[in-house]
């Protein structure tokens, strides 16, 4: 009988001690905000395009933290999905085509300024305030701030906004990776075609 009492009391005391420790830890090491959502948000491309169905990257990151699928971000594409899958420890899924396709390269909005009527609709649509202008004044895109999200294209009543690929200059040009040698290409039986260093004449 006494052994039972001792066992129960010891367990109770232990439970109390650990409960106190846990309670203390919960207060002492409280994490502000939603750390998972913040980490997810850090991986999203921040185009704020809303193609995922959420009004911006942060809301989508919060939704992902709450169990939303990770394959709804076309600007991020496969690499973002992979990074999210790595972070969350889930299987990467192919990009959900419903939300749009991944673009080939970075884009930037361009306003054909001669056609702009100064309606400010695009200014209101831009999620990152990258369009400047005033009512009845021509607007223009701050290219450095534009995320290429497309959101300004649709509201324009005169269709004077177009998305252009970001141009390559000597400032952002860099060498392509050498083509992999023949040992990596299963169908390649001609060694000479595999050598990018030859025959590539400008």
């Amino acid at each position: 009988m006494s052994t039972v009492v001792i066992a129960v009391s010891v367990l109770a005391v232990l439970a109390l001690i650990f409960g106190a420790v846990l309670g203390f830890a919960a207060v002492r090491f409280r994490v502000e905000g939603n750390p998972i959502a913040d980490q997810v948000n850090a991986l999203l491309p921040q185009t704020q395009c809303g193609q995922c169905g959420y009004p911006g990257c942060k809301p989508y990151s919060e939704a992902i933290a709450n169990g939303e699928k990770i394959n709804k971000c076309p600007p991020g594409g496969e690499s973002t999905i992979q990074a999210l899958a790595d972070l969350l420890g889930v299987e990467p899924e192919p990009l959900d085509a419903e939300h749009g396709a991944e673009k080939a390269g970075p884009m930037v909005a361009f306003i054909r300024e001669a056609e702009c009527i100064g309606c400010t609709k695009c200014i209101q649509a831009c999620p990152v305030d990258a369009i400047i202008g005033a009512a009845k004044q021509m607007h223009t895109v701050v290219a450095a701030e534009c995320t290429g999200c497309d959101l300004c294209v649709e509201p324009c009543p005169v269709d004077c906004i177009e998305m252009r690929p970001v141009e390559t200059s000597t400032a952002n040009w860099f060498w392509q990776a050498p083509q992999q040698g023949p040992q990596m290409i299963a169908t390649d039986s001609r060694p000479h075609a595999a050598n990018d260093n030859k025959g590539e004449a400008a």
Partner: protein, 848 residues
Amino acid sequence: MTHMIQLHTFHGGIHPAENKSQSNGTPIRTAPLASELVLPFQQHIGAPAAPCVEVGARVLKGQVIANPQGFVSLPVHAPTSGIVVAIENRAIPHVSGLEEPCIVLRPDGQDEWIAHQSLCAELGVDDITDIEPAQLVHQIRMAGIAGMGGAGFPSAVKLSVKRDEQGQSPIDTLILNGAECEPYITSDDMLMRERAAEVVRGAQILLYILGAKRCLIGVEDNKPEAIAALNAALVQLHEEHHIDVVKIPTKYPSGGEKQLIRILTGLEVPSGGIPAQIGIVCQNVASAAAVHRAVDIGEPLISRITTVTGDAIKHPGNWEVALGTPASHLLQLAGYQPQKQPRVIMGGPMMGFTLPSVDMPLVKTSNCLLAPTAKELPLNDMAMACIRCGMCTEACPVELLPQQLYWFSRSEEFDKAEQHNLFDCIECGACSYVCPSQIPLVQYYRHAKGSIREERAAQKKAEQARERFERRQARQEREAAEKEAKRKARAEAAANSQSAKPAPAAAPTVAASASAPAAAATSETLEKLQKQLTATQTAIAKTKEKLAEAQAALAAGDESQATKITALESGLEKSQTKMKDLAKDIAAEKKALKAAPPAAASTAEGTDKGDPNSPERLKRKWETAQGRLDAAQSRLAEAREQGLDTVAALEEGVRKQQERVDEAKAAWQQAESGAAAPVSTAVAVTESATDKGDPNSPERLKRKWETAQGRLDAAQSRLTEAREQGLDTVAALEEGVRKQQERVNEAKAAWEQASGAQPAATDTPAATVAALAPAVAPAAAEADIAALRSKVLAAQDRVNKAQERLDMAREQNLPTVDALASGVAKQQEKLDQLQQQLAAVTSTAGTH
């Protein structure tokens, strides 16, 4: 004063075939000017320069043609006198073959210098030591001197050192890089041989600028002539100096800045840092010579010595060549024989890049043009698999693990590559040189570096975008909150005054008269009075509450409350008299205000021109009334919600207010439609000459219709809102909407009629003329025919326009289609008539 310099060594390194004897046997020759010089805005690391000359301008040799933009930037000078023929994108010497903005200069052959003199002469001092170092640095910057060894970093930036309070420079050693470790290149070698004095003088100037204690000129031991020449120049200095020429063992890449520093001092530049952090500044010997020219002669950097060599060159050697000279010009001079698989390398065989085209200009960093034959520098054999033999590790001058970097770069594991110090790679090519599998290792590293940089830029941009997005959201939330707060404040204020209003017996009338002008109040005294009134009202309400409580308590049997009640009652009476007084004061104030409405109006609004019945004023009145109505309604809604007994009174107030609004609106609409005619005359005349002041012109009518439509829409939306909120204004609004609809219909009908009839109306003069034409015709001059013709054309135009409008209407299924169709038909008729007239006139004129 030669000192013993303890030499150190760096890890790795290779000994490729030197191949220097081909080009260092002949003295430096001056290349004749090319027919066209192409000067890129950017020949240095940093921000590109901005052009400051116009196309077509004549510029003199040494004239600045592009100004630096920012601290890390350099100007561009005209290498000779000539005409600027273009400022356009041209292919620049870059392996990508991309085009960047360039200034294209056509030399006029006169080679006329802009006025220049030494800095000492310019400042009127005897020696450079009388000049502030900062001034010298500025002179060097404005001379456009960039590192001439190949990297092209602006020299002035390296020379801008901050001294401490005692004027002590943090720089201990100036190193002049004469190692020239790349095979084939001999431009620095020849410069040191032939212009050793210039290099030494440059070193002296640099030493003074930097306040450094010593200068070491590092030269590889495969250039004995250069070492001898420099030593001879030092001997001739005859003054105390701290310059030493140091012979270093030949080993590639000893000419790398970091490697040379390690050889000469044993120190290492911290990763990601600059030599100045360890008290060293490193300059190329050619840059030192250019510094001498800039300071002692006043000549900017407009030419450089370039080696042209390789087995595909008949006469290899060194040329002093004007910047901007196309590579093809120099190749031709040296007797270039194109090969089967032509390659022209700008720079050396280890770090140079192949030019995509020989039309590219030579720039400040172009130290060599190498045109090898296939036999001389065989094309890389196909890359085999990496066998991790580790030869690259042994060759690497910065002790990296090249083959690990290769695996990581190849599999795009960039974070691991970075962790293996990818960014410490100087891209010297030693690893590729020794690789038995002939793997283009450097290309992998360059790709990896580029990708990482791109990724970082994207990350930075994403971060920026996130911040901007969040700021925008915060702003929008704040705005919404502010709006909400304002609305609440309004509602509260209204509720306060309302709850006080019905309480005292005398209140309703007073409150009504008080609250009504409140919104329109302009006088300060009035406002003050009203505030006092509100305060009194609140006090009364409170007293009343207390009174009620006390009475309840008394009823419950609390005798002690009786005295309190009396006190309260007397207080209440006092307050009420005060309120009445205030109300009187307010009324008086208002009368006074009303007595001078024109004055007040004109001061309030200059454009009103004192007319109290102008549509603008009326409209404002209506809007104010509407605002008041809205306020009253919200108050009513609140009262209802809270189940107050003031509901009935408020309802009454709202009804009255509604009436007032309707009146005001009607008055304004009347005024608007009435005023439209006279006012629009003026407006229309100025606005559009074609309107000819006709108030009934279709344009005006259309505008009217549109305005009416707009109003109707607004009314409808208000109605929907009211319905949604279950307001009792619904009926009134419905009525308003109905009326508005009527008005719209009217306006529309008027416009349709006018637009249908208008062409006819405006055509009348023409038609008359046309009708008269036969009579006039016999006497008519050619001019009349011309006039008639133009009329026909105008009519034709009108027909077309009408037709267009009709088509549009048809497309959009507008109800105006029929009217427009008839209009077009009429127009067509007129046109036909006119044409007939014209034909008649012409034939009559012809008979005369």
